[in-house]
Subunit: 308 residues, 4 copies
């Protein structure tokens, strides 16, 4: 090898991330740190949280570290970590390569504000993900999506076709149902104002593939249920309107909250104004949640999240 030769790919330094969740007990940080140190990793960032500092709680950890040859060593590292540390502390642990962007599929209906904001941030390189596909139950937004060079799949959903439609969605997300090779490799799904409920069955199947779904919905104090939320907000005279991004569970709009924000409104605001401002706050909140998930910052803690 002459001096001008680049280092072989396997030796190039990379940034890895380790996410850990386990019952709290003494010695966890020391064990994880020692494991990484002994393998030549340098910890560049570390966040931890204990749900009960007095004891008996759950422990959460996110570490970023640099390591030579990370890309090639990641799987072996994870296996070794599990054997040496993870099993001992009953850890749920996950290693990721920061250089590999997460791949997402965006679900939409007819509202475009969240979709376009995500596509636009993705195009600028500031969303931290690859947009692998858009799946829609209406065909309206096809031109907008294809303009960005992103595959658009129109899968109509009616009460009768829902099982078949969800099977098709699952195939597009996971490559099940006969594909060979790598598959689409979707890391998570983003419901960008998708006006259909994902069935418990679909959520269960996605969960088994390790594919969470993030949803965005409007939020008010007090809360409203039912149709035309901004008309209700007007009738109730709220002075704040907001949005909540959360993981999707079988309990609609009740999944673990990732991020929330609000904007002030006055009596002068019409339902049209509220709708417009609501769209702005929805897209801001959703883009933050997507980016945090892309950066492996979110851990589940029962019905809540830990966001590092």
């Amino acid at each position: 090898m002459t001096p001008s030769d680049p280092a072989p790919a396997s030796a190039r330094p990379g940034i890895g991330r380790l996410l850990v969740s386990c019952p709290d007990q003494p010695g966890i940080v020391a064990a994880v740190t020692a494991f990484l140190f002994e393998r030549g990793a340098n910890i560049t960032h570390s966040d931890q949280y204990s749900s009960d500092p007095v004891g008996g709680g759950r422990f959460f950890l996110r570490m970023a570290f640099s390591l030579d040859g990370l890309a090639d060593r990641l799987d072996a590292l994870a296996a070794e970590f599990d054997a040496r540390v993870g099993q001992r502390y009953a850890m749920e642990a996950r290693f990721t390569d920061a250089a590999r962007p997460k791949r997402i599929s965006i679900f939409v209906s007819r509202y475009d504000h969240c979709l376009l904001d995500l596509l636009w941030r993705w195009q600028r390189g500031t969303l931290g993900v690859e947009v692998a596909s858009v799946i829609a139950n209406h065909d309206d937004l096809r031109p907008e999506v294809e303009r960005f060079g992103v595959p658009f799949h129109h899968i109509p959903v009616t009460r009768e076709t829902k099982p078949a439609a969800e099977a098709e969605q699952l195939r597009l997300l996971t490559g099940d149902a006969g594909t060979t090779g790598a598959g689409p490799g979707i890391d998570f799904v983003v419901l960008a104002r998708y006006m259909q409920i994902l069935s418990a069955d679909l959520l269960d199947r996605l969960g088994r593939h390790g594919i969470p779904a993030i949803n965005i919905h409007h939020s008010f104090l007090p809360a409203f249920a039912g149709a035309k939320p901004y008309d209700q907000a007007k009738r109730r005279g709220v002075k704040l309107i907001g949005a909540t991004a959360h993981f999707v569970t079988a309990d609609l709009d009740e999944g673990p909250i990732i991020e929330q924000d609000v904007v002030r409104v006055t009596h002068e605001a019409t339902p049209a104004d509220l709708t417009r401002w609501g769209a702005d706050i929805e897209r801001a909140v959703l883009s933050r949640a997507v980016r945090w998930q892309a950066e492996d910052r979110i851990l589940l803690n029962g019905a809540t999240t830990v966001v590092f």
Copy 2:
């Protein structure tokens, strides 16, 4: 009268405020403006709102104006306005003298954060009200209140004594039950974390005396009912906690909203942290609502408010 004589009190200029609410129709602003102009008033501030600009809505107006001899002319002005303008447009109209601070009575239980914030702003002269009395169902806060030179009335409330207790509260607020002369002259009541429900009967009687009550309560997205709200907020993993100031109606915590605000929280916040931050946001929101009411900025529009 020599040149150095001061103007008689009756001729001194004052700032008046006019609040109007009526069915919307053409010509209202012109009629009000002409009435004031012809009597020598100069309009210094005007805000208006129509609940439906297309027609058929309700119209709201707040005007501030300067007028020589305002204090002495106010009652006659109001009567003349009613005869010439108010009846014609089916107006609810109210004239006030900006120089006369509103008098309030603060209801408390054991929490002191909202009470002390109001007393402290009052002492600094920035709340825009006179604190006439504090009425409490516990005696704990007496020393704090008396330190500010404000009368403190301890009226315990149990299920059995509630009617008698409310009768005593009413007497302290309105001077009913046999007092002669001016009475306490309370303009509005502030429930500063008063942990008792005002009965529909008491609210009705206060309403007939023209005495509204403003309440403060915590607010979350989604909303919670029941006890220990900040523990619930922790379990639900909310990322925002807030407070709502509203007028009290027989529907607990459902009265017309005056003001709302929120503060961001993270997974690290303990219920104690949430409680502390909640106290900060509660006192900030309540003090704004009190000041706006003191400045005659709030009009009722059905179940909502117009805040000018």
Copy 3:
């Protein structure tokens, strides 16, 4: 005219806006209101501000009103108002037709975040303007702009060519230099991260055509001058970064402020993070300023603005 005939265009009701600025004195509101009432206009919205309620200040008024046949009567109404009311009170007064959207030209260089946000809001119909053209000193953003169907004019600017370039800009904005007919009819210019200074001469000429320019720039506490502002912000360790939209004057970045907002940052933010969040806050602030100008909400008060 049979019953099914539509009303002639000249009789159709429209929404007009009147903006007034003049020395404060008694009777202004009454005079304006009477004038409109006598011509059959119904005032649907009114905001006013007096820079010194005690007297001697300047008075500002924005009224919206409905009037049959507004579009055809607007010029005559303005002339009559000037003769009957405006001259008497030394008013600067302006009547506009709310149904006619303002036409804007957007100036850009290479940054696309503010431009795309404006184009996208315009396409959704929520910006309240017509985007008539984009003028750029670089050709990079041509494809993005033309995708929206908006004319893109590339006018390079160097020190030597600046006078000629500005003459060409002026021609595109005003139709000067030999065009016949209506001209481009630009109502205001938006500098969406245009990295060139408009000369005092160009601003003066635009001023004579009644064409203001709105600019957006980053803002920090404390303020920074010079290049690479987000690197400076990082070195100074600010905890907030912000943006300011303002009218352009010959004093760079010192024109009357229209809107400001900030976002919180921490020590962890890199200059790249600050730049990304700065872009988000810049586009949010600029879009608000553009919409307010489109709705005739902004009046100049010396070196400051009144935003109704």
Copy 4:
């Protein structure tokens, strides 16, 4: 020792905090973690920051840990840490006992809003400090302070008496100048709108005693210098007013920023309104900075802060 005997004080568990700042290099976290683990400490919280993840930057760490007998072992632990870990990595390291509240002295002049907010939070037990004394260059606020049971020292300052006044201040803060025994034990000074500049000499002496000073001042975009800042803010027409809490250095108002916040204002705000809202935002920002310092959350990074 019978079963009912309490554990000796020396064995009681306590919460310790470790703050570290040093040149970044591989292995720091592993070394610190191993040191604590081997001594029986359980890490309950850990935050770290590297000013340049690529290398060559500075490393910052804050750890909280539980340890039996902490109070008695703290000094020995610190000495051992320095010998085994600190010197090897050129660390600035500090161990503290979370159970020992920091002691502060508050400097004031005549404005009471920040002072009273701090005293009130201290009385409620939510500030996390002991208020040991108030030092004032005017006597006005004595009754307010003594009402809280806090010693009030009136030390007038003129140009001539400044050296003597600062010597007296230093004596009150450090117990220098002949006191014997423990001394006042002040951990940090809070300038709560103290309208005097601390001399470079006093700051230097305080620095040698390890006593930092935190200041609060108003902040605007753009920034203003000189007197009557809220009048200037009014003339400039700002739409936001803010406050900055920072460490005091010889460069007035240029020390490392700890916290900033803003509140929105409109053209209607008078200088009196701005002053009132400014007071609210000043006390909110200052109380956050004081609490964070009390919790050992703030580390210096050159001219900036790391706030964990």
